[in-house]
């Protein structure tokens, strides 16, 4: 039994549960092939080839004719543990993947080449190839691309602060931790109220932990050289309740969505403390009443608002989408004319402010420098309900030059360039987003208490059209509100909305103490790149929300 598990059991909320066998489930540690643990260098940057290759490729690219070049080297460590009660681990994988990418600008045209090899010859070859690509890529009638004014040349090292590097914690400890949830759940079930007669069983269903450590070296022909390490971790802990009629309900624990955190996220999530509430919710799911269609006052929890923000205004304010870069992939934006809309288009109630950043504590998109070498700052997207900003890179920022000139601001990327790894070309990806809390310090419960008749929607997920004009949302669960009190769960309720209408109909916002941070994965680009970011949001009350029956056909 690992120390971690023992500590966890004695200090956790379920300390009373002390009846777990004092040995780890997984037995003794043996290693084959005569190798000892710890052979992986702790830091990719300890390898002198990293800087040598970066500088050599940079020289070769500028020598071959690039007016601007940048070089990216990456090492991605990945670990994936999935477990289920009473079974062998369902999945256990570890990987170490490397990348070396060279991006060049020649006569105002991008070129790119990448491979996993870090050698001097490969540095030369990639640089030459990237320049050749740039020369071949130019379409005669296309004007040369101009980047924004060069950012200050960044130099330095940044390591995302985490309490426990997930790759220095052993698998044994991590699996033991996940498995201990099964025991805790079992004891909770035995010691708590008996399983209601109409239910067959309650138990843990799936436990998992996914960790990524991303190391990135960046060098540019502007003189920048940076080394960054970030972490992105995600957990899973779901219970399942089975009925006698082959129906079942699953409930997942909160605070486990992808975040810029280490192994500590599992402990911070405190799943044992969440279990009683999860069981209660799962049981409620067996007593759902049918949906009554119509328009309702709806109190959305912070998680729902995070998902709504992410899918609507968070997506629509990606400048590359708005100007058509993603037209052949994920889609465009209803903000089709950014310059005409900035500062004038009302997309939300006057109380609404939305900002973006790459620095919020625990933010999955946190970096010190983006893949253009820009140090991102927090910036506004929506102020007083009006669009005032877009997510930009060095390539797209000049599109907004007239807007910047009007405000006496320099044309400057706000640092939203990213790439899945050095094998992929940098493009714009969503930074962390934040819905500003309301001035009155309201909580979700207070908003429910202040609602005469309505619905409470929890943990919504949202499906949008390809311009974020209209959407259909589904709560993980929905409860009726009557005279300020929560009523039964409602089956099959979905909310159908137009983006601007929903945001304009917000009548109350949660205060600063009701902020929650939720992580999202988003795919974009061709070839597709999956990136992560966080959204901080507060609960909100929205009037006149159209509630429809999700499964009802026309």
């Amino acid at each position: 039994m690992s120390t971690n598990r023992r500590q966890f059991l004695t200090t956790g909320a379920m300390a009373a549960v002390g009846l777990i066998a004092p040995w780890g489930r997984r037995g003794a540690l043996v290693r084959w092939s005569g190798m000892l643990p710890g052979a992986l260098p702790d830091r990719m940057f300890d390898d002198p080839l990293v800087k040598t290759c970066a500088m050599r490729a940079l020289d070769a690219a500028t020598h071959a004719g690039a007016s601007y070049a940048d070089v990216h080297l990456s090492r991605d460590l990945g670990r994936r543990l999935l477990s289920a009660p009473g079974a062998a681990p369902m999945d256990a994988r570890q990987e170490a993947l490397f990348g070396f990418g060279v991006r060049t600008l020649v006569d105002g045209q991008w070129g790119f080449a990448s491979s996993p090899l870090w050698t001097a010859d490969e540095a030369d070859r990639l640089a030459r190839a990237a320049v050749a690509q740039a020369k071949a890529n130019r379409i005669a009638s296309a004007p040369p691309l101009e980047l924004d004014a060069p950012p200050p040349a960044a130099t330095g090292t940044w390591i995302m602060p985490v309490a426990a590097d997930p790759f220095t914690v052993s698998f044994e400890e991590q699996f033991d931790y996940l498995d201990s949830l099964v025991d805790i759940m079992e004891h909770l079930r035995l010691r708590g109220a008996p399983t209601p007669w109409h239910l067959k069983g309650i138990g843990m269903f799936a436990m998992g932990f996914i960790a990524n450590k991303k190391e990135r070296a960046f060098a540019s022909s502007l003189g920048a050289y940076t080394e960054q390490t970030t972490y992105q971790c995600e957990g899973q802990a779901a219970i399942k309740v089975d009925g006698w009629n082959d129906q079942s309900a699953q409930v997942g624990a909160d605070r486990l969505s992808v975040a810029g955190k280490g192994w500590e996220m599992m402990r911070e999530a405190n799943v044992p403390e969440q279990l009683p509430g999860m069981i209660e919710r799962a049981i409620l799911m067996f007593n759902q009443v049918p949906v009554e269609l119509g328009r309702y006052d709806v109190v959305f929890d912070a998680k729902s608002m995070a998902a709504i923000l992410d899918a609507t205004l968070g997506t629509a304010t990606e400048l590359d989408r708005a100007i058509g870069y993603e037209a052949n992939a994920a889609g465009t934006s209803f903000l089709t004319d950014p310059l005409a809309m900035l500062g004038s288009l009302q997309v939300a109630a006057p109380t609404i402010g939305i900002t973006a950043n790459r620095s919020t504590p625990g933010g999955a998109a946190n970096v010190k420098w983006d893949t253009d070498g820009v140090a991102p700052e927090s910036f506004p997207l929506v102020q007083d309900g009006v669009v005032v900003g877009f997510q930009t890179t060095r390539e797209t920022a000049p599109v907004l030059a007239p807007w910047d000139a009007k405000r006496g601001q320099p044309v400057r990327s706000n640092g939203c360039a990213s790439a899945a790894d050095a094998l992929h070309v940098p493009i714009q990806h969503t930074p962390n987003l934040a819905l500003q809390p309301g001035k009155a310090d309201l909580t979700f419960d207070e908003m429910v208490a202040g609602t005469e008749k309505g619905l409470a929607i929890y943990g919504a997920s949202v499906m949008m059209d390809h311009q974020q004009v209209t959407g259909l949302g589904v709560g993980t669960y929905v409860r009726r509100i009557e005279k300020g009190k929560l009523g039964p769960m409602i089956a099959g309720a979905a909310f159908q909305f137009r983006t601007a209408e929903l945001w304009k109909n917000i009548t109350a916002l949660g205060g600063a103490r009701s902020v929650e941070l939720l992580g999202f994965r988003r795919k974009k680009g061709q070839p597709e790149q999956e990136m992560v970011h966080s959204v901080a949001a507060v609960p909100a009350k929205v009037k006149q929300v159209a509630i429809v029956d999700l499964r009802k056909k026309a």
Binding site: R31, A39, R93, F98, G111, Q133, G324, A327, I427
Partner: protein, 459 residues
């Protein structure tokens, strides 16, 4: 990029595997999976190339099996240190495992390994300059029409192998090419799309795809709103593929055999064992859906790269005249429950039979219908019935009295492919669609009673 090899040959793979097997000492079994590839792409938007480049990658997964337990370690480097670390990562997991009762890696099957020809030198040699030449005319045509084009051309070559320490070697090399283009008007009130993928680059006709997207952009401009509701729909082959793929991706449902839910589950028998719907009529009787690695127009590599099985993927008929004939399963299930060593993998490729009608004939013989280019943003909302929601995209038109009368605003649908393809009125000639994750051939199809639930007036 001609100065380095673009992919690993069988000999390269064998040599690499031998090195790894030599390092993996201390007993047990070792299997090496290799996915080496070259990818060249050109991506454009706003009538200019926005990114384009070449990428090499060589992903090596080492699987170590000790006392019936298997674990994996992955890297994309081929130096000794990286390979040792991959072995170590696999081995460090092994003590955590209980023996997997379904681990049947010890069985080798003698079934012949299919060898479809999925190689094209033209695809392999489509370098940046040639890609530019396939993109520029489409961009210039869109520009000349006053439109903005965006698109993506990708070619790739792969050498993939699975080699174990008992000298079992599976190797397959193949090429892929894809081309897709979206054309939008300057006011964002019209949008057209076309795309396709093939093994052989010469089978892709960029000019035709460009012309189709431009024509759709023209014809879809300034759409009018119509009421959602039930409509007869004329689905282009792409729309058929987008929708039916949601039903096909459940064709390998372990849970069904084990008594779980799913569209192909027949519940439990008196003995508690899972029943399937095999033998039941689930689709229109004119529809047969099959997969065949040797299909000359929709062949695919005969290996299920996503699983530990290394048996040849064989031709399978999933639906025959609308009757569910087969479901997919892996080797673990086959050995344990069917006492047969042969898995029946489904790897995401399929061909749907059709009829003789052309799209034009379908339109000409229709009183009132909506013509659908394709669907976007499809989400499943009910697993059991495969009820899905999503929106139409890049061209939706009202057809009345045999003629396309006007473009209409996009709509959100709530519909199941199992319902829609049971309500078939007419089937056309099947053709290859855009689905780079595995070839799909589908016919244009006229379907009645298709359910549109709300307006989705994105363009």
């Amino acid at each position: 990029m001609s100065d380095v090899p673009k992919f690993m040959t069988l000999d390269d793979c064998k040599a690499l595997a031998q090195r790894i097997i030599g390092m993996a000492t201390g007993g047990g079994e070792t299997r090496v999976s290799i996915d080496s590839s070259w990818t060249g792409n050109t991506r454009w938007a706003r009538n200019r190339v926005i990114t384009g480049g070449d990428t090499l990658d060589h992903v090596v997964t080492v699987s170590r099996t000790i006392l019936g337990k298997t674990a994996h370690g992955t890297t994309n480097r081929r130096d000794d240190q990286a390979l040792r670390e991959a072995i170590q990562r696999a081995e460090s997991f092994i003590p955590l495992f209980g023996a997997d009762p379904e681990d049947v890696a010890g069985i080798t099957q003698n079934q012949p390994f299919l060898k479809p020809n999925l190689w094209s030198e033209a695809t392999l040699n489509l370098e940046a300059t040639e890609r530019h030449d396939a993109v520029a005319p489409v961009v210039e045509a869109a520009r000349a029409a006053g439109f903005l084009s965006a698109g993506y051309l990708q070619v790739s070559a792969h050498g993939r192998a699975v080699i174990d320490d008992r000298e079992l070697a599976r190797y397959y090399q193949y090429t892929q090419a894809e081309y897709s283009v979206t054309v939008r008007n300057a006011t964002s009130t019209g949008s057209g799309w076309a795309g396709v993928d093939y093994t052989e680059w010469p089978r892709i006709k960029p000019d035709e795809l460009g012309a189709k997207a431009i024509a759709k952009c023209h014809a879809s401009a300034d759409p009018v709103a119509i009421e959602p509701g039930r409509y007869v729909v004329i689905l282009e082959p792409q729309a058929v593929a987008d929708l039916m793929d949601r039903a096909m991706d459940k064709i390998s449902p372990r849970a069904v055999y084990e008594g779980g839910n799913g569209p192909y589950s027949g519940g439990r028998g008196p003995d508690g064992a899972g029943r399937t719907k095999i033998g039941q009529q689930l689709l229109d009787e004119r529809i047969t859906i099959s997969s065949d690695p040797m299909d000359p127009d929709a062949g695919f590599p005969p290996l299920d790269f996503g699983s530990d099985d290394i048996d040849s993927v064989t031709a399978t008929t999933w639906f025959e005249h609308g009757v569910l004939r087969n479901l997919g399963y892996d080797r673990g299930y086959a050995v344990r429950s069917l006492h047969s060593p042969a898995p029946r993998p489904y790897v995401g490729s399929w061909r749907m039979s059709g009829g003789d009608a052309t799209l034009e004939e379908m339109i000409a013989t229709t009183k009132r219908a909506l013509l659908v280019t394709r669907f976007s943003g499809i989400h499943e909302i009910d697993y059991q019935s495969v009820l899905c929601t999503g929106t139409t995209r890049d061209g939706l038109w009202l057809v009345e009295n045999g003629k396309i009368v006007k473009p209409v605003k996009n709509l959100r649908f709530t519909e199941s492919p199992l319902f829609a393809f049971n309500n078939v009125e007419m089937l056309g000639k099947p053709e290859r669609v855009y689905h780079p994750n595995g070839p799909i051939v589908a016919p244009p199809t006229r379907v009645r009673d298709f359910s549109f639930t709300s307006l989705a007036d994105a363009v």
